[in-house]
């Protein structure tokens, strides 16, 4: 039969054959000895997905990988050379040193641990921790920072670089604003309540504002009850241990965030990792777990929890929720969904991946999310059935030992949510969601056309652009800043060592002009730095794509 991954005219047709599922799922074909790593969305049951699910994870040509390794090797050799010179006093030591009185204590850091930090990270350190001095909206002001000694120390010149286009802050719906009307209620509440709370939730820290906020969150998500916490990271690391303990099994995605990993480790349960977004891997682990039980005793597991995220922040991929829910129902596991990036950013009315896939929030056992990204505030929440939330009110580490959320911040979330739900009388909320969707589609399409390698789902506002070579990381970020655009670049250890990337966060507050400025700058820079690795640059004629936008058929 025809090769399912036939490539015609540079476009990949999506064939859906229900019988030949395994062939489809491997998705990678060898043609002329070069692997084309275009992952396909072959699903075993076409009716699970109500709209097309297109994700891209193209692999770069072989020479790119070779040059990346060469780049790192050169960096490492120079690193050893510099360390050697520093140890022998041929070069100045610029880093802080241990106290004289404590020289004979066991050293606090091992030399090798810091090798990467000292020699590779330090060279391009000026691209991170850039201080800003305005609201992190679609444009912001950066403080100008120079270094006299090759990034060992920085000093501020006192000047600010004004109106830099912001492609780095998590401002998906544009709620990070200083408009006086928008912040009116927040100002009032700040005046009334002050800034601190000075007590924990269970002692004297539950304010009426928290109760109001929790009711609103529950209504927004369509669940019975919700509980809010002061910090998003801590929401994961303090509640997962309350839900699972020894004798339970946690199945966590390969690319889960540090807070989920920390929460899983602190709980004491056994952790097994499945490949990123790979349903066969997950199903195999589930079957093995139930059939073989716990490792040595072969007793049955007490419970099995699957930890996934809505949108993965480094890949831009969206979780395959319909398949996971059907797996979970079949094997009687529980699902914990971390919607840190996806709440507010996807879905027809901004309610996250659950709405995006047209599913009901009852399918997910524990809905967790943060307010930092789409709502322009701080904190996290957990929502679900009333029994679950009552349990967390009594047993969560945060409720007993950590301070509750600041009331002014709670008010910001309340007004943002009311705006999204349309309760403030305007259609602004829905407008923002639509604008974000439009901006995302436009941005991604244009980048594909230009020939860059972009990871992730077509609907996700997180856009990673692959750079690969370590030398280009620094060059890319610095030159973009010269063009007055602020970008975020990430390398090892947040990403695999060969896949350094620049990550753009599209916002509803970006206008078409801003996006065009950024796209033009990227075009120029892409040619200058030879970043356009993709072999599938699409032409800009959308009519040829009609067939791939059709609904999946049985």
């Amino acid at each position: 039969m025809a090769n399912p991954s036939a490539v015609c005219n540079g476009h990949l047709h999506h064939h859906h054959h229900q019988k030949q599922n395994n062939l489809l799922k491997s998705g990678i074909s060898k043609k002329n000895g070069i692997t084309k790593g275009m992952k396909k969305n072959g699903v075993s049951n076409g009716t699970l997905y109500k709209k097309t699910f297109i994700e891209h994870f193209e692999q770069a040509p072989m020479y790119v990988a070779v040059f990346t390794f060469v780049g790192f090797a050169v960096g490492t050799i120079f690193g050893y050379l510099r360390d050697f010179m520093r140890a022998w006093g041929l070069e100045k030591r610029n880093i802080a040193a241990e106290r004289e009185q404590q020289k004979d204590f066991v050293p606090l850091y091992q030399d090798f641990e810091n090798f990467y930090t000292r020699n590779l990270y330090l060279r391009i350190r000026d691209n991170w921790n850039r201080p800003i001095c305005s609201v992190p909206g679609p444009q912001f002001d950066l403080m100008e920072r120079v270094t006299d000694d090759y990034n060992w120390t920085f000093r501020f010149t006192g000047r600010t670089i004004k109106n830099v286009i912001n492609m780095g802050s998590y401002n998906y719906l544009g709620f990070a604003e200083t408009d006086v009307n928008a912040l009116k209620t927040v100002t009032i509440e700040l005046e009334k309540y002050g800034t601190g709370v000075c007590s924990t939730r269970q002692e004297m820290g539950t304010l009426d504002k928290h109760v109001e906020l929790e009711k609103l969150v529950a209504k927004f998500l369509g669940v019975e009850d919700a509980m809010v916490f002061g910090m998003g990271f801590a929401t994961n690391s303090m509640n997962i241990p309350a839900l699972v303990g020894k004798g339970c099994l946690i199945l966590s995605d390969e690319l889960n965030h540090t807070s989920l990993v920390l929460g899983a480790r602190l709980s004491g349960a056994t952790i097994r990792i499945f490949k990123h977004n790979n349903m066969q891997s997950l199903e195999k682990l589930l079957r093995d777990a139930i059939i073989y039980g716990q490792p040595r005793t072969h007793r049955a597991w007490r419970k099995i929890i699957i930890l996934v995220e809505g949108i993965y922040s480094m890949e831009g991929s969206i979780v395959r929720l319909p398949e996971i829910v059907s797996l979970k129902k079949k094997y009687k596991a529980y699902l914990y969904l971390d919607e840190a990036h996806s709440i507010g950013a996807v879905g027809a009315t901004g309610r996250g991946v659950v709405e995006y896939f047209g599913m009901s929030p009852d399918d997910v056992d524990v809905l967790m999310g943060t307010f930092t990204k789409s709502f322009g505030a701080a904190g996290g929440y957990i929502a679900g059935r009333k029994g679950l939330v009552d349990f967390l009110r009594t047993h969560s580490h945060s409720a007993v030992y950590a301070t509750s959320m600041c009331p002014a911040v709670a008010e910001q979330i309340i007004r943002a949510m009311k705006c999204l739900m349309g309760l403030d009388g305007t259609a602004q909320g829905l407008q923002r969601v639509r604008q974000l969707e439009k901006n995302t589609r436009y941005f991604r399409r244009k980048l594909h056309e230009m020939g860059f390698i972009i990871y992730g789902n077509d609907d996700s506002p997180v856009v990673p652009l692959l750079l690969y070579m370590p030398g280009k990381i620094g060059a890319f970020a610095r030159r973009m800043l010269e063009k007055n655009i602020g970008v975020v670049v990430v390398g090892f250890p947040a990403t695999p060592i060969t896949e350094s990337r620049a990550r753009f966060c599209v916002s509803a507050a970006h206008t078409r002009e801003m996006l065009d400025t950024v796209l033009n700058a990227l075009d120029e820079l892409g040619d200058f730095l030879h970043l356009k690795y993709s072999r599938y640059s699409k032409s800009s004629h959308p009519e040829l794509y009609e067939e791939s936008r059709l609904e999946l058929e049985d």
């Binding site: 992190p136 990070a176 100002t187 004297m204 540090t258 480790r265 029994g387």
Partner: protein, 419 residues
């Protein structure tokens, strides 16, 4: 086949066990309005003896106006972690001010008090290292230790002899295996003013032990920052110790500074490491700028009025004296500690009944206009669970009459409930 049968038969536990409706934590107090000196709890106005608002800065006008100015300029959230455009000039200013105030080289800010010490400890202490920690350490420290996967050795509360015994044992272990000893790091983690017992750690002896056995000290000063010492610099000023002798001081800004968040301060050699390896710092959004501006203003007030610390201490002494001699309840805590515990002199047998009895005392006081709370713990998770107690918090805003009223009300309550 067989496998399918196994899958069919397996039944997991329910995700969460059902919680009984009369669990004390489900019937929590709801506060309407700000938790200031006069607090409205469950609809009733009371004098606040339960919020850790030691210096009364929660309702301070200057602090609020600084926060308002910051709100106008920066909005509410920072929309990013410190590494990705989440560093604001207010954060840098706050770090500088804290470092200057505590007279150390550098300070680092976290956006949540609990996460401060829970991220700081695992950044330095890894698997294979040894940590000596006091039994009465607070829960955040315990979680930090658990995340670090190091060997934990508990010593009895404030018992230096016990600690020395453990250190000697470790020394003999080291002599058996000197190669391993050369790479095993050792730490002592103590609190300045213990939250669970209200007393302070004997810092001068600890310093002596530090140099004798070559262990590093991490000091957690959440309750003592802004309380002890002539200028509020904490327990190092209280004992007159050179601050460089302590490797790391960690505190949260949620008590004296009436803001949210926490900080660590110390020498650059130590603090700089956390900027890349402190999990709560690198992987979490930064502190909202309005809270940072409020903290800076609060620091200004602390620096300008150094006599509030003396006033606070005098009030603590006063109520400590007044609460002595209540039949049935004993006072636990130092005389200058602003967070005391009142424990039952004789337990009724089970923890549950003790808790119920104390609840009746608290309810009596609340009905008469003094807001108190029981100290809450997670019973199953604590390593050394403290006995149930009532938490009494003293702030500078409370007047002498109010202190006396609280003391006499507690006496009455104890009489009627416990006799």
């Amino acid at each position: 086949q067989e496998k399918e049968e196994l899958i069919e038969e397996w039944q997991p536990e329910p995700l969460v066990p059902p919680v009984p409706k009369d669990h004390p934590a489900l019937n929590y107090n709801i506060v309407s309005g700000p938790p200031t000196h006069i607090i409205t709890v469950n609809g009733k106005e009371c004098i606040n003896f339960a919020s850790f608002n030691f210096l009364g800065l929660l309702n301070n006008e200057k602090v609020k106006s600084a926060a308002q100015a910051s709100l106008k300029k920066y909005g509410v959230g920072t929309c990013g972690p410190r590494g990705f455009y989440g560093t604001f000039d207010v954060h840098l200013e706050l770090e500088e001010r804290l470092a200057k105030f505590m007279r150390t080289e550098e300070a680092i800010i976290y956006s949540y008090g609990f996460a401060t010490i829970a991220s700081a400890i695992p950044a330095y202490s890894k698997r294979g290292d040894i940590v000596f920690v006091d039994e009465a350490a607070c829960f955040a420290i315990q979680k930090g230790l658990q995340a670090s996967r190091s060997n934990i050795k508990l010593f009895k509360h404030n018992d230096m002899a016990d600690l020395e015994r453990l250190l000697k044992e470790q020394e003999t272990e080291d002599q058996k295996n000197p190669r391993k000893a050369r790479v095993t790091r050792r730490f002592i983690v103590v609190e300045g003013l213990y939250m669970n017992t209200g007393d302070i750690c004997p810092l001068p002896e600890l310093i002596k032990l530090k140099y004798k056995y070559k262990v590093r000290i991490f000091l957690e000063e959440s309750l003592s920052f802004g309380v002890l010492g002539e200028h509020g610099r904490g327990i190092t000023e209280h004992f007159g110790i050179n601050i460089d002798d302590i490797d790391l001081i960690s505190a949260n800004m949620e008590n004296s500074l009436a803001s949210i968040g926490g900080f660590c301060c110390g020498r650059s050699f130590i603090i700089d490491h956390q900027r890349l390896s402190g999990q709560g710092y690198c992987f979490s959004a930064s502190l909202p700028p309005l809270l940072a501006a409020a903290a800076i203003e609060a620091l200004n007030i602390m620096e300008d009025n150094p006599d509030i610390f003396q006033t606070l201490r005098a009030k603590c002494e006063r109520i400590h004296r007044a609460l002595q001699g209540i039949s049935g309840l004993k006072v636990v805590g130092e005389s200058f500690s602003p967070a005391l515990h009142l424990q039952l002199e004789e337990s009724c047998g089970s923890r549950e009944n003790d808790v119920k009895l104390l609840k009746r005392v608290v309810d009596y006081c609340m009905n008469s206009g003094i807001a108190l709370t029981q100290a809450r713990y997670l019973e199953k998770e604590e390593k050394c669970l403290p006995p149930p107690s009532i938490r009494v918090v003293i702030t500078v805003e409370q007047t002498e009459q109010e202190l006396d009223k609280a003391a006499s009300l507690l006496k009455e309550a104890a009489q009627s409930v416990l006799n």
